[in-house]
């Protein structure tokens, strides 16, 4: 059997399309998406309030640029293994928390910097007008700066989410879950006999990532406030 026949056979195995059995691609896809989405939500909750506040008062600009540079330099692969190790040493449930913490840590830098940059880029005139019409500082943050910064924040969420989808797959080396990455890691363990599983799993991960990217550009299109100028809108739709 050549590689393609092996892969075809792998796709045709019993339970491969099951939603409930852990060998099923749909089951693994949901697991993969669930983990990525959960991490993104946690990162959003953790970053948006402080970034909004800091940017509103123009504090911590240095922090914002340092965080993104450092975030890029930290190898995600290392974080996963480090947290897994710490969890096993402290005898925590090693299949869930280490991966979640590593993933959230990865999503923090793009979310934080984009929120910060988005708020800072809001037109000062709009903020002053709001202040002049009696908005409190909290109202300005929530009703003016947050919606106007939304395109940039969503661009950050998109970058973060794609990174999460890629990293969940890597998580399969330490985790019972790992979503679709499970197939690839299991396939690697089998050597040449696992090529069908490796290729099948690889295709599944790639298709999932491309679908997520497509979904995100749709979400961005619909989530933008209607009041934004066409130029801002189009900038938001193409930025990455």
């Amino acid at each position: 059997m050549n590689v393609w026949e092996q892969t075809w056979a792998w796709f045709g195995e019993p339970d491969r399309w099951s939603w409930t059995n852990s060998t099923g691609i749909p089951y693994r896809t949901l697991q993969h998406l669930g983990f990525s989405a959960l991490s993104l939500v946690v990162a959003v909750v953790l970053t948006i309030p402080p970034a909004l506040w800091l940017a509103h008062y123009r504090r911590g600009a240095f922090l914002a640029s340092t965080v993104v540079n450092l975030g890029r330099a930290i190898p995600s692969f290392g974080l996963i293994i480090l947290f897994w190790f710490l969890a096993s040493r402290w005898e925590l449930n090693t299949s869930f928390w280490p991966l979640l913490i590593a993933l959230v840590a990865l999503a923090l830098p793009p979310m934080f910097t984009n929120t910060y940059a988005g708020v800072v880029s809001v037109d000062r005139g709009a903020v002053d007008a709001a202040r002049g019409t009696g908005h409190t500082e909290t109202q300005i943050m929530l009703r003016i700066e947050l919606p106007l910064a939304l395109p940039v924040i969503l661009a950050g969420a998109r970058v973060a989410f794609l990174q999460l989808v890629a990293t969940v797959a890597i998580g399969a080396i330490v985790n019972d879950g790992g979503g679709l990455g499970r197939y690839i890691v299991d396939g690697f363990a089998q050597g040449a006999g696992g090529y069908g599983e490796i290729l099948g799993g690889g295709l599944a991960v790639v298709v999932l990532a491309l679908l997520c990217e497509g979904a995100f550009s749709l979400i961005t299109r619909f989530a933008l406030p209607r009041g934004l100028s066409p130029a801002t809108r189009s900038r938001a739709l193409v930025s990455r």
């Binding site: 890029r72 480090l82 090693t94 080396i173 690697f188 295709l203």
Partner: protein, 223 residues
């Protein structure tokens, strides 16, 4: 489940005993990074030249490199392993394709912001198209290109650690090794992570220095 682990968090002894190995993996890390960046730069310069000539090609190239950028690293390795095995080639191709989007975009942006008068002056002096590109446009675009190169280099250095799944990994080898023995070795994990970050910061700094040396007229360009 793993056996009980009581090794201390950090053992200098391990570092001393493995010094030779560490240097060797550091070299592997550098050679993977350098190969990926060199290939990425060569391909994106080619794409940039075509993009500057035909506008439609630019949107096409950005969309194409964008798709490559979205592909998860593990997925890309998985698609290549059945054809190239656990090899340097399998590791370098995805590492190189991830740099294309940022490099292409920065090269084109950099060249486009060259002032029209400068270009006209060069054409008026009888510069050929190629000479214009190599001696006028590229040098003037250098700060923006290097800004892209810095992001690409730092990202690549982090991604190289993932190639430890293919039996390579540079410093990622130690990260992987840390959990492969029956008693996990935290020293190996920490050495792998810390050196990888240090390498990224160092390369970023060196590229920043080279930008200041090569393009002293442009002091303020951001990635």
């Amino acid at each position: 489940m793993l056996a009980e682990s009581n090794r201390p968090i950090f053992e200098w002894r391990w570092v001393e005993r493995n010094a030779h190995n560490i240097v060797q993996r550091l070299g592997e890390h550098l050679s993977l990074t350098a190969s990926a960046l060199a290939i990425g730069l060569a391909v994106s310069i080619g794409l940039a030249v075509l993009s500057l000539r035909w506008r439609w090609f630019y949107s096409f190239a950005i969309a194409g490199t964008g798709v490559l950028y979205v592909i998860p690293s593990l997925g890309a390795f998985a698609l290549l392993v059945p054809f190239f095995g656990l090899s340097f080639t399998t590791a370098v191709i995805p590492l190189a394709t991830y740099t294309l989007l940022i490099l292409l975009r920065n090269i084109v942006t950099g060249i486009e912001q060259v002032p029209g008068e400068v270009r006209e002056a060069a054409v008026g002096m009888g510069f050929t198209r190629l000479r214009l590109l190599l001696t006028v446009e590229l040098p003037l675009a250098l700060p923006v290109v290097i800004a892209g190169l810095r992001v690409a280099a730092v990202t690549t250095i982090g991604l190289v650690t993932v190639t430890s799944m293919l039996g390579m990994g540079g410093l990622g080898y130690f990260i992987r090794q840390g959990i492969q023995t029956t008693t996990p070795n935290p020293t190996a994990i920490i050495v792998g992570i810390v050196l990888s970050i240090a390498l990224a910061v160092l390369v970023d700094f060196l590229l920043w220095l080279s930008e200041r040396a090569l393009a002293p007229w442009a002091r303020k360009v951001r990635a």
